[in-house]
Symmetry: C2
Subunit: 243 residues, 2 copies
């Protein structure tokens, strides 16, 4: 049996899922590989309620958390990994094959941190806005001309690969990493500061995403994130009182 | 992208599948990993027809072969591998973890042989009789208390592992192995000889399965299988004319 005790910090996050069967299938794959924390973000219509009320719906499904934003669903995580079939898309995040990505995730988990693994909707996958919350992206190495996997099957394959891999040799003790909640507070503050100061076009939708991506590339520690946030808040206060 | 050209000899065989969605999901996973040969054995009721007539049903599903026996579905294969969650069962075949099993399958495929990978019904999995056609069994390393995977997800995980693994270093050139059709002819002949000669209880259901398992442990070459069959037929003729 695989040692899945180290996977306890992993949160599977389903974003805008449309089909209750896929929510149920994802929950089942989680049970198969010893995971318990499912989070759903804005599931389509009644999909989540239907999945929960299905005959044989698991305890895991009943204790799943529902969130209205990705930011809320990943707040307690230090690493956020998106999944994509990478069809015809210009990706702005680093893309790694599942096998390598699973190794990186296990290293983060074995350091005692929480990791979010994001799966997009059946039709469109994750959006560019969704991706802007991710540190990097995973691709399951599928073949053209049918690269896109069924959602429940993609979840199963990712969890299999995570459970399959041996325990990392030695988990370096790292400084506690900034959580996504801290990073998001920093993102909001920096965007605000840049808008007030006239750096950013206030109507540019992609500007926030740019800032979010940039901050996630920094590998900030929790302590540094806090002190940066303090600086930014002071700057904002000054900008406001000056205008 | 994985090199799946070597997986061309792999046949996915779904035995007594009950749910058309699972047939469709299995076909989709095959497309994702570059496979084309799907065979179904006695699908439940209209499951197969429904799966084929579903909107967006693939070319692969339309060209899937339907068989009324496992023996017919695996006739052109030299290696037959069953899948099992291995719950509370006394298995008579060797059981290997998926990762190791996938390596053995790839070696057989790279020698130019065909391999059948069998998946049982959603409710009961493969039966002991189904297992008797298998050289050995694969288990996906899942966790108690939820070891049993959804069928479509199990297919996806197995094919991912097969596609993931690197090409075997050097495929030893082996003598052409006996196909399952040859092995089955040999099984039938040996059972007949043993019954006529009074060795076997003609009413024992498990006797055939025992003989079938025994012959599959021998790693017979095609040539040796032919000559053994010739010997047995001669023996049967003699036994008949003597009685």
């Amino acid at each position: 049996l695989p040692d899945t005790s180290e996977l306890g910090g992993l949160r599977v996050v389903l974003v805008a899922t449309r089909n209750p069967l896929n929510i149920g299938a994802s929950a089942r794959a989680m049970s198969n590989f010893g995971l318990t924390r499912l989070r759903v973000v804005n599931p389509f219509d009644l999909a989540f309620r239907e999945a929960r009320s299905a005959v044989g719906a698991s305890h895991l499904l009943h204790t799943a958390e529902e969130h209205t934003s990705i930011a809320a669903a990943i707040a307690d995580c230090t690493l956020v990994v998106g999944t994509t079939a990478a069809r015809n898309r210009e990706l702005q995040q680093p893309l790694v094959a599942l096998q390598r990505g699973a190794g990186l995730i296990r290293r983060e988990l074995s350091a005692g941190n929480n990791v979010a693994l994001l799966f997009g909707s059946e039709k469109r996958g994750l959006s560019n806005q969704d991706f802007s919350y991710c540190h990097w992206l995973i691709r399951i190495p599928t073949c053209d001309p049918h690269p896109s996997m069924n959602l429940g099957q993609a979840v199963a394959v990712c969890l299999y690969e995570l459970a399959r891999q041996p325990r990392p040799r030695s988990a370096r003790k790292l400084a506690a990493a900034a959580t996504c909640e801290q990073l998001e507070r920093l993102t909001v503050a920096l965007v605000e500061a840049l808008r007030i100061s006239g750096y950013a076009n206030p109507r540019s939708v992609s500007f926030d995403e740019n800032v979010r991506r940039t901050l996630r590339r920094l590998a900030l520690s929790a302590e540094d994130a806090d002190s940066l946030l303090g600086m930014l808040r002071q700057i904002i206060w000054k900008l406001r009182s000056a205008s």
